[in-house]
Subunit: 449 residues, 2 copies
């Protein structure tokens, strides 16, 4: 029977709204009971669908784990989502209260609507839709955590401890945005990151710029020189060995991305700039998704107050992060910049580079049968082929899944940037929610052998 | 009669200690009465020496003005000093209380001992020494202000208002340090300054460095590039026209300074650095005293907290000052950098340069008869010729004197760096105080025709 015709959207909406009413703000210690209530809501729902479902303790907020393994000989699909939400502040900017879901113009407005209760619950409802027709075509496990918005501090430990229980063939995550409203999207790559802090030391104390200027080394000028030397005039990063092993874009990818609805001018206008500088020889999307970067995220030194102070500071510092692409290893890149910066530091200062954190880049093989399955599922829902995009950001949990569970991760984003996750008036188009439910159901069918 | 033999050092010390006991901290509004008491102390003393002396009101702390114009046909010498002192904090670092003058190892320890009560009062005692022998050989005016340590906010207005009363042939200031303990010093040049603030704007809001890194302009990287481009690899400033008109060092100056007791190694060690980078082709003293500089005094942008934040900041800024030498005009230099920085700003950002303040460089002609008079006076006291030095700093009041009173300024420094002005345990060697009194008396004699 046609899944679309089977979907009771009124019931699906009602249940989601009930879930959205619980203020499961993971960063708010006064809402621990709400967190527990949300976990129990999901456990009970999955239990009612015939899943073995339980709330599992972690050092932080609990995980909802559920499994239904009745499809003998079929792949096992692990669906990840999170039931915690961002804080609602600033409350005064919300048109309607963040925990009273309200529908306007076909969108439900509530904290967590798109991130990630709406997208996670779409999978629950997708499973329910399939079960209404009989047994699930694949084995399904749910892992719904309660700490994503505070950096998933317990997740890695949980994955390691429960690795056997969580064993699967593929992991499905829906916790992001499609490329554009009319573009069903499979995200098959994420950039990694290497994040360091640079400390430059000049004299042993702040000096008077009149008495010492012209002879004393200036650590701020030196830091600026170091930063400027990290890129050449083509926008390429000068750290020796930095590009070693970088996976080049295939001709297929370049053509695919060139065909996406993207306008450099609109992109520049959307952030209010006159140009989009970057590495020569690559388009904007290529630079955002498939090329490594180096950005200074913060800088400080000397006098920052109002007016003027004639000081040569003793020290200056900066935070520098590099987005990495498949083929690059964060630990190696960190080591390279740690070796390079002292070499390019101007005379008279010392420079030290401290490792703050790193995350592996991720890319799924475009020829993977999972990608093809997602493509077919999305075509059934949207009536057009999916776009295969990457994203410039890093999702640390994806790297953790890949490493610990050793399974590919399929990112099937149901939301849109205009849903405003993390902002006041977060929303989720009910049409996208319903399409998400269908996508989930079709995807599980397509993943069956 | 021999002036040295005439000097009653015990009385001179006792009077100075009385002056040092009054806590005339100009920045401390609770000490207004102490400020008035100090002014009255000096007025009464000068009155007792037969000067027409008065305390003159300003919008801030009062000026002590005194004159004795009995040397008909002789030059008029205006002696400037200041009776206010720096705050005493941090009090716990003082070995003995800052306003209880205490002698240890031939030094009097007290706030203001060298800066500037000791040096200013040496001139009062120098005049007294001469008067004990008869009439003064020149006409003498005293201008002792009470706001030097807070930037002399009332001085310029006072000078303009009283320009007629203050008319003179030469201005003598003793408010600094000699080049070295055994080196009597005449300081004949000061650098000027042009101080600006640079604002660099990228996008219209902070951006996520994952989602935008590689395409969005980064104002911190751009600011670093701008700063790096302001100097070439020879340490020369690249602003077009910057060096136009710069007075080159004479061969006499280069030789004179090369003969001064200076060690690059000791200088570098004193500030804890391994090298003294700067403009190629000039010695350290030449770079400090006679060459313009460009130093970043402060920089800021993006995330400065602990840990990491993956942000591309919307804006970044820096404070940049340039020390100027004779031949350069602060207003012109400011205009040049205001034109240049937007030209060298990388694509995608806008850069704006705001004028914060400027000060004229000053140099006295080495052939001036006033310089020669100071040299002869110092020879009588120290038994050796004076060194002719410049200083790297800027003394805004000197430029104001030159401009408004249109008279040359003679800087006869009596102190030493080791006196620690502005620091806890400020002191003044009593020998230097006594030499200062004699220097003042001999100088007035030498300035007579």
């Amino acid at each position: 029977m046609d899944l679309k015709a089977q979907l009771d959207t009124a019931a699906a909406d009602r249940e989601l709204f009930d879930l959205l009413r619980i203020p499961s703000v993971s960063s708010d210690s006064t809402r621990k009971a709400d967190m527990a209530r949300t976990a129990e809501f999901l456990r009970a729902k999955l239990d009612s669908l015939g899943f073995t479902a339980r709330v599992e303790a972690t050092p932080g907020h609990p995980v909802v784990y559920a499994e239904r393994l009745q499809a003998s000989g079929q792949p096992t699909v692990l669906i990840y989502g999170h039931y915690d939400v961002q804080p609602e502040a600033p409350l005064e900017e919300w048109v309607t209260p963040p925990f009273e879901p309200t529908v306007r113009d076909g969108r439900v407005y509530a904290r967590g609507a798109t991130d990630d209760k709406g997208q996670a619950y779409a999978h629950v409802k997708g499973v329910e839709l399939l079960l209404a027709q009989g047994e699930l075509p694949v084995n399904v496990k749910f892992l719904l955590e309660g700490e994503e918005e505070i950096g998933s501090p317990s997740l890695e430990g949980y994955l390691r401890e429960k690795a056997e229980q969580l064993k699967c063939d593929v992991i499905v995550i829906s916790d992001g945005s499609r490329f554009a409203p009319d573009v069903p999207t499979v995200t098959y790559g994420l950039r990694g990151i290497a994040y360091v802090e640079v400390h430059v030391q000049g004299a042993n104390r702040d000096l008077h710029s009149g008495a010492y200027g012209g002879a004393a080394p200036n650590p701020i000028n030196a830091l600026a020189t170091i930063i400027a030397r990290l890129k050449d005039d083509q926008g390429r990063i000068t750290i020796p060995g930095f590009y070693d092993g970088v996976q080049e874009l295939t001709e297929q990818e370049r053509q695919m991305w060139a065909a996406l609805p993207h306008s450099d001018q609109e992109f520049a206008e959307s952030i209010g700039v006159s140009a989009l500088p970057g590495e020569a020889g690559y388009s904007t999307l290529e630079r955002l998704w498939a090329r490594p970067t180096l950005d200074v995220n913060g800088i400080w030194g000397g006098f920052q107050g109002e007016g003027s102070k004639t000081v040569i500071a003793a020290k200056a510092g900066a935070k520098i992060s590099m987005r990495l692409v498949p083929g690059q290893d964060p630990a190696r890149i960190t080591r390279l910049i740690q070796e390079y910066i002292p070499q390019i530091a101007p005379e008279g200062v010392t420079a030290e580079v401290i490792d703050l954190h790193g995350g592996q880049p991720v890319a799924m093989d475009l020829d993977s049968p999972y990608i093809a399955a997602a493509d077919r599922a999305l075509q059934k829902v949207f009536g057009k082929p999916a776009a295969f995009a990457r994203t410039g950001g890093s999702i640390p949990i994806v790297a953790a899944f890949r490493e610990i569970l050793d399974a590919p991760v399929l990112l099937v984003d149901m939301g849109l940037n205009e849903d405003a996750p993390h902002s006041p008036n977060e929303s989720f188009a009910l049409e996208d929610y319903h399409r998400g439910i269908l996508t989930s159901a079709y995807l599980l069918q397509e993943l069956a052998k």
